[in-house]
């Protein structure tokens, strides 16, 4: 297993939105889901997860409610809101465009300049 890479600035929000878009999750579940999807290649600071969740909720992209966890414990579940869904799509498109541009720049050879 390769050493996990640190998260790029500003991408945690997008990853959280993606994680909860697949179904309601509690905070720890968001962490597990991201690690699972990324196949443990991303290192997420657990301490920074919750401020991000609170920020997204404050902005109205996600909403929360108390529910019961798999092992019958009270846990707070996050869901994507309609506004959050639109936001997530917009962010995804932006990211893809950006990634294309960056990739294009980085793959440029001396002959193409």
């Amino acid at each position: 297993m390769t050493k996990p890479i640190d998260l790029l600035q500003g991408t945690l929000d997008m990853l959280i939105l993606k994680a909860v878009s697949l179904g309601p999750l509690h905070g720890y579940g968001v962490l597990l889901r991201i690690q699972q999807i990324s196949k443990d290649r991303l290192e997420i600071q657990q301490g920074s997860l919750y401020p991000a969740l609170y920020r997204l909720e404050h902005q109205g992209w996600i909403t929360s409610e108390w529910g019961e966890s798999e092992n019958k414990r009270k846990a707070k579940y996050y869901r994507l809101t309609a506004a959050g869904k639109r936001r997530f799509q917009a962010e995804t498109e932006k990211w893809n465009r950006m990634a294309d541009v960056i990739a294009g720049i980085l793959s440029t050879t001396p002959e193409e300049v």
């Binding site: 919750y50 109205g60 966890s69």
Partner: protein, 894 residues
Amino acid sequence: MTLWSRLRSWLRTILQRARMESEMDAELRFHMEARAEDLIRGGVPCEVALRRARLEFGGVESAKEECREARGAGFIESLLQDIRFGSRMLRKSPGFTAVAVLTLALGIGASAAVFSLVNAILLRPLPYPESSRIVLPELVSPPGVNLGSEYFPWGQLQFRMLTRDANPFQTVAAFQNDSFNLTGSGEPSFLDGFRASQEFFSTLGVAPALGRSFTTDEDQPGHEYEVILSDRLWRERFASDRNILGRTIELNEYAYAVVGVMPAGFAFPRAEEMPSSFNFPREPLLWVPLALPAEPKPGLSELAVIGRLKPGVTTQQAQAAMDLVTRHAEEQDHRWIGWFNTRVVPLQRQVVGDTRHPLQLMLGAVCIVLLIACSNVANLLLTRSLGRRREFTLRAALGAGRARLIRQSLTESLLISVAAGAVGILIANAAIYFVKMLGPANLPRLREVTLDLPVLAFALAVSLATGILFGLAPAIGAARDNLADSLREGSQKSGGSRMSPRLRNALLVSQVALALVLVVAAGLLTRTFFQLLGADGGFNAERVLTFQLPLPAVKYAEQDHIVTLFGSLLERLRVIPGVQSAGIGETVPMGGEGESTVIRMPDHPAASQKEMPFANFTVISPGFFAAVGTPLLRGRDFQETDATDSLPVAIVNKAMERKYWPREGALGKQVGPGSTRFPLLTIVGVVPDVKHASLREETAPEMYVLYNQKPWPSLLNMRVALRTKSDPAAVTGSLRDAIHAIDPDLPLAKVATLTTLVDDSMAQPRFSVFLLGAFGVLALLLASIGMYGVISYSVLQRTQEIGIRMALGAQRRKVFGMVLGQGARLAGLGIAIGLVAALGVTHLMASFLYGVRPTDPLTFAGVSLLLLGIALLACYLPARRAMRVDPMVALKYE
């Protein structure tokens, strides 16, 4: 949508703070426990799993702080925290908090009260619509003519010229005070009122609340029997009867139809709002038409004039227009030259009048108190912040940002100032209540004083500004500190930067200096007050009863009739048991100004009519001087043998003798009224100067004449003075009986003892002394608290040093002296600066003083000693504490 969710989240933060916090805790605990369970499943031993989970998570507290901020509630959250923490800190040192809050509250309360007075009396417009357009055109005495007052009543002819020619005015009205004997409905009573021309009410812009004002027809001689009542008279005398309109009431034995009732609170003109020489009644209760004759009488009259300027016309323009009228009149008739000088005075300025000066004095005094209070609180906060330096540096070391530290200490001082503002408002309210109760009745507009919004805003602004200013300084100091150094040093020893003791000393010195200025001012006023109490008014006020005897003009049209009445009245009064002597006079001492007139003296012929001398001219009866206790200096008193047909005689006061016959004396000299229709009188006696309105007045020349030797003025409004053997109140009953035995319709007015009259005349100086004295005591108290704080802090700081000195053999007495010396040096410096400042300031209050110079050395020296004594007393406790320092304890202190 998102805006709404943000708002909701803020609201939730504020309203459900506790729930949000516990939910956050639960969520994070769930995270940690779930992680620990996973770790256990992965093979990590139970005991270490939770610990590992925590380590992986990182700083829980900082994550929580970030969460709170993420929720958009960081500011509110930490503000609440600051307030909670701040109030806990303040509760932990209740002594400091109480002193700081009380000090500031006293300053704020006192200044809010004085500002309310100033606002209501000086700044707020008068309660008349567009009151800035209302002016009083006043006649000014010709230059070189001394009437005892610069004002001069308008004559009928002059008023007619004014209405005809001068027209900066939209409307102009004349009025004249008069007394009315109300009979026919209950006990006869004597009412103060005014005869007013038709435009009087429209000039003021106030219409009757009930009925109408006078018509032009009613303002004509022969048709003037209509009356407008004041709200108070209507209420008290006619039981607020709405059917009063059209009914007739009997005034001075004429039937008057009631045509209107004025709104509540209207009582123009009140005595205190007009020049005092007009001698107007305190509060008019009714108005009747002036009804000037179509052919106005030339010569003197007793009119006052009020005008409403046309829109856009300034006082200066009005003055210019009036000057034009004057010149025009002088060109047409040379006799007018010098006798038609006018001055246009805005009503507002007239009403405020002489009150401006005492109020400015109060304003200055209260500003000093506020300054002392603020600098005291600043000193307290500074001292405290030095004591808490270690706490602040520790918090900085633990990661508190500088901004956060500053905010923290700001919050604390703001808490103090908000609390002080609240207490200050209570104090201000109480103070206003007392001022309204105890304030002199002649303070204009006193009844309008309230603690209003602008004043509240002012008080709050002052308290907040103080809080911010003096909360910031220590916080910035703390934030700038070098962490490592501060932590290494002991909290006691490190007295802050070298600047702060100097700053604190400077604050203290300025407090002492300011207090000195204030107390010197209060001392000068107090000495003035006692000088006035001891001043010789030319009479003896003890056991003297006075009252006014207004005679109905219809019944007593003949002067002989009045003379007979007075003769039999005096006879009857003198035999009342308990009466020592009785006399009748046109005025009584402290009863107000009397008449003055042009006089002629054969041995002082006037070069021209303009240079004819004036003198007060007072009609009295034999026995008057004995009754009011005026001793005869030379010659003889009036006697019963001075009859209508015997030699006409006069008595003059010392001022008159000194002015005209300084060497040879006045006895045997001749003097008479200006008009040659009256005979010359022979001066038979000289009496001391009797004061009329105030004990501080400069007495003018005065001559007394006998009521039964055909004097010039009318005798319709005389006063009676009775000297009694015991309590004057005991004779009032038999007095009424005696008067009503002669004429049952005669009303008695203004029954008062001479002591009461003197007391009333002292109301204003007493009030000033009371207020300024209160401020002085406050200033002394605050300055001594400041002194105590600074010295005891410095002793605390120097504990170690004092311990070493003692260990090296310093004597306790010497240590005691050293601390006292430190206090004395600071106090001495403050006193020196204060003395210089006081010398510069007290000459401004020369007009308030009587019998004391503004640089009175006794007051200056006394106050300096007092202040030094109080300063040393304030140092005494800390000095004793220093003396008791145990060298061992002090050295181990670190």
